[in-house]
Symmetry: C2
Subunit: 225 residues, 2 copies
Amino acid sequence: MSKYYPLINKNSEFDAVILCDGDYPSAEIPLNILRNANFICCCDGAGNKYIRRGKMPNAIVGDGDSMSKNFKRKYKDIIHIETEQDTNDQTKATRFCINKGFKNIAYLGATGKREDHTLGNIGHLTNYRKEFNIKSVMLTDYGYFVSAQGNCRFASFKGQQVSFFNIDCSKFESKGTKWKTHAYKYWWQGTLNEALDDEFEIKSDGSFLVFRTYLSKNMENKIFK
Amino acid sequence: MSKYYPLINKNSEFDAVILCDGDYPSAEIPLNILRNANFICCCDGAGNKYIRRGKMPNAIVGDGDSMSKNFKRKYKDIIHIETEQDTNDQTKATRFCINKGFKNIAYLGATGKREDHTLGNIGHLTNYRKEFNIKSVMLTDYGYFVSAQGNCRFASFKGQQVSFFNIDCSKFESKGTKWKTHAYKYWWQGTLNEALDDEFEIKSDGSFLVFRTYLSKNMENKIFK
């Protein structure tokens, strides 16, 4: 049976939330997921920012680059420094959560600020699925990214904006999308597609990323324009 | 001889600036380039936002989706509607500028807001170089993307943060970067590199994107943390 990816809403539940040090969420859905989180793990500098908002994470994981000596002393019970330089703070936080037994992880604040970090953070989702076999969703203020592989079904709604990013597929066919898909060579080729109804399907032979918006195009135009 | 990519600063000159409808620039370098532009072409909704700031672009190009009837009437002399749906507003604006004879284009406001748009906009740089043979730079609040191919030299400074995104290289070797490069399979693998001195070099057999920051890592930590 093909894997099924449900819609995400403000009541979606996750084992853990990893709060990264990009733009702090400002939309209702990511904010609500953060508010209701069972376990919150902040990436390095995001810990300080989260605490300054009057909250307390369960853990702060990273290379310690963005923490002052004072801060490290004060919050030593929840801080876990990992200095190895082969990966980024988001991946260190992911490993930490996996070691705690969490398998269903929401990433917040992973986009915004430096665009190369944004691209790196999104790109890592493919590896988390492949290497750690976890279910992860990266939520932004506009929608959410998931990493998928092979044949999959995705919950959707009429008018939902959908973008596909091909990682290593040579076959990539869709059912239930406004525009025909193919095994895209360039990033932009799979963007700005649209769901026709409450589900679409992908038949592929490799890894890909899917971005689905919270709102239909009409609603986006009303709210953001 | 290998192609050379200079550093960008607030006095860098371009034939035209294309202002996209992502986040409006807020850093000094993109703002100064916008202020000193010879020709400003806004993508669809960015035109309205630019005018609301008390400025006047030379042209507004797009599918007209984000413009009211009134707005279209009032600014009909500078508005150029292109309804074809095979490409996005940024590409329509690019074609418009090329038809005016502009070959050296700066893109501003192309990142931020919906992340799939951001990815699409960045990804298009490769095509603009390949199809239109233009020199283009996409400037964000943190740094700038360029599309490159084959063997190239890049101006840099010690500590400049550099990220590479492989599009279709099977060979990708660098000189003058902190970390060794290779023909990356995943987006994140080429991120978070660093320039050692005032130039680095890439020897490759295909297309790639390079992001260079305005500031060194130390300066970024001081300003943004």
